[in-house]
């Protein structure tokens, strides 16, 4: 296990777990099929995030990322919060194992999606049913593609047999 002490701390003692009753905005990304799903709830006062809470289905990294993003966002203006990137979250956690970096992508995305939801509500837009959901590939689905020559390759193969290039850990998949 290669989790940093900060990741383990946030995993074991996650901050801001739960829901906000009557939130001003909700962001939901991922789905359990992909391994992780995160919901972020926000309360906004004077354009600042007065409260941020989360609920997450996912691995240790996903839970730690969720906890960290809520801590980083709390008290910030909406504009400041929109600038928090996934890389910022990973850095604040003292780094994540390479195969866990995709988990960190959930954190900032869910927060930004909650803020967008708030702004849309304020503007009187009716949210579409699945608004804010990230498109995710379907694990177990067919088709892994070489990122260099775009030919279909065997899953988890070390190299592309068409162009001979070494394949990255996560291949592109059919959406």
């Amino acid at each position: 296990m290669a989790y940093s002490p900060t990741v383990m701390d946030h995993f074991k003692n996650p901050r801001n777990v739960g829901e906000i009753l009557q939130p001003d905005g909700v962001g939901e990304v991922g789905n359990p099929v992909c391994g992780d799903m995160m919901s972020v709830y926000i309360k906004v006062e004077n354009d600042r995030l007065a409260d941020v809470k989360f609920k997450t289905f996912g691995c240790g990294a996903a839970i730690a990322v969720s906890s960290m993003i809520t801590e980083m966002a709390k008290g910030k203006t909406l504009e400041e919060a929109m600038k928090i990137s996934n890389a910022d979250v990973a850095e604040a956690l003292g780094g994540l194992p390479p195969n866990k970096l995709h988990c960190s992508n959930l954190g900032a995305d869910a927060l930004h999606s909650a803020i967008k939801d708030y702004l849309d509500r304020k503007a009187g837009k009716v949210p579409a049913p699945d608004l804010g959901k990230e498109p995710h590939h379907k694990p177990g689905g067919k088709g892994c593609y070489c990122p260099y020559c775009q030919k279909e390759v065997e899953e988890e193969a070390p190299l592309c047999i068409f162009c001979g290039k070494e394949l990255p850990h996560e291949l592109e998949h059919e959406h």
Partner: protein, 390 residues
């Protein structure tokens, strides 16, 4: 905090007798068993003894045991060795959807070389239907490879029935018995297979050493080419320290199995019943009776397995998960999906593998802490909320 180790499929601690045998060997023997000198001969005798010990565990003739680097090499040798050896006869291989990656990826390689693969469905318990195997056989079929017991759900396959069909159609039969050998009785005569893979680290022997059983007369080409070691089946100077350890582990498994089996089964039953009584909405995987006595696979609704194992480890409990997040490949387990489990439920899967040092107190500790941990994670889970809000 004393650790409670429940991941014996990943590694088993060395049996005290195995340690003793290996240390004695290190201290007294350094020769090459292929050399006919005073230095080489003790090594050759140690090799012979280990071969006899392993052969006795699976009821084989010692000349039919080929030592190698472990389960993955055995499987690669069996699958690719037969594919090469019988290329003139045909290019079709039959397997199942729940095989170990060593089989899947050996077949992936063969597919690139124009071999055709038929991979058979399993039922909800993970069982392969022997009738489906027979139906899949064509004149081009050269090999059937189906595992003896599955390493994720524990289901024991009807290998003797499948081997009978293979024999009738004159097709070579290999079984990956890595998860089973040394745990349950494995008898190559009763199974009727041509090839059987086993590994020492599943039965209190060292990692990095295994064996392939090759029935006399089986057409199989070497995987490792070179010298004449292992009766020309596997080149390279033998890993004799490991092999000596494997030999002793095989002997102890054979002698102690009558005691180990009922103990493991009782501990597993205690764990299975206890968890089902204390945690709602869990699913037990694998066959109820045709199952390894030390393996218990369970899927927990609404939560993800890696976070569950991390929290159990905080309580000193070491257990494996089959969640995609922990797999490295970020894919849900192909075995669980093949038995019809949904991706979300597969994510919440734990695999407990018990060992001869585990006690009832160990199981009771799991039963005590796991319900609370599951509830903590469920309270954190957005899908739990949704399902339970109706």
């Amino acid at each position: 905090m004393a650790l409670i180790y429940l991941d014996h499929l990943a590694a088993t601690p060395l049996h005290p007798k195995v340690k003793e045998a290996m240390i004695h060997h290190i201290k007294t023997v350094y020769g090459n068993p292929s050399t006919d000198t005073q230095v080489g001969q003790p090594a050759a005798r140690a090799l012979d003894q280990a071969r006899t010990q392993v052969a006795a565990l699976i009821n084989a003739d010692p000349t039919e045991v080929v030592f190698n680097s472990g389960g993955s090499e055995s499987i690669n040798h069996a699958v690719k060795g037969v594919a090469i050896g019988l290329r003139q006869k045909g290019n079709h291989i039959i397997t199942s959807n729940i095989e170990h990656k060593a089989v899947l990826n050996s077949l992936r390689t063969l597919r690139l070389l124009d071999y055709r693969i038929t991979s058979l469905d399993v039922d909800q318990y993970g069982l392969v239907d022997p009738a489906a195997v027979e139906k899949a056989i064509t004149p081009e079929t050269i090999l059937i490879t189906v595992m003896l017991a599955n390493n994720e759900i524990g289901t024991i396959e009807p290998i003797a029935d499948i081997a009978q069909i293979a024999q009738k159609h004159k097709v070579v039969m290999h079984t990956d018995a890595v998860a089973a050998t040394g745990v349950i009785p494995v008898d190559v005569q009763k199974l009727g297979v041509n090839l059987l893979s086993l590994a020492a680290n599943q039965f209190y022997g060292p990692p990095g050493v295994g064996a392939l059983y090759i029935r006399k007369g089986t057409a199989i080409w070497p995987l490792i080419d070179g010298g004449l070691q292992e009766n020309k089946r596997r080149a390279g100077t033998e890993n004799l320290i490991g092999i000596v350890g494997m030999g002793m582990a095989a002997e102890m498994a054979r002698l102690e199995m009558p005691e180990r089996l009922p103990r493991l089964q009782a501990l597993k039953d205690r764990l299975s019943q206890g968890l089902q009584q204390t945690i709602p909405e869990i699913k037990v995987n694998g066959h109820r009776t045709q199952c390894l006595p030390h393996l218990f696979s369970v899927s927990v609704e609404y939560i993800e397995g890696e976070s569950l194992t991390l929290m159990l480890e905080e309580e000193g409990i070491i257990v494996a998960t089959r969640s995609a997040c922990a797999s490295g490949s970020l894919r849900a387990s192909h075995v669980l999906i093949a038995t019809g489990l949904g991706h979300a439920l597969a994510q919440g899967t734990l695999v407990f593998t018990l060992g001869m040092d585990n006690t009832e107190a160990d199981i009771d500790k799991v039963l005590k802490v796991m319900p609370r941990i599951v509830q903590t994670l469920r309270d954190m889970s957005p899908i739990y909320k949704k399902e339970h809000a109706g």
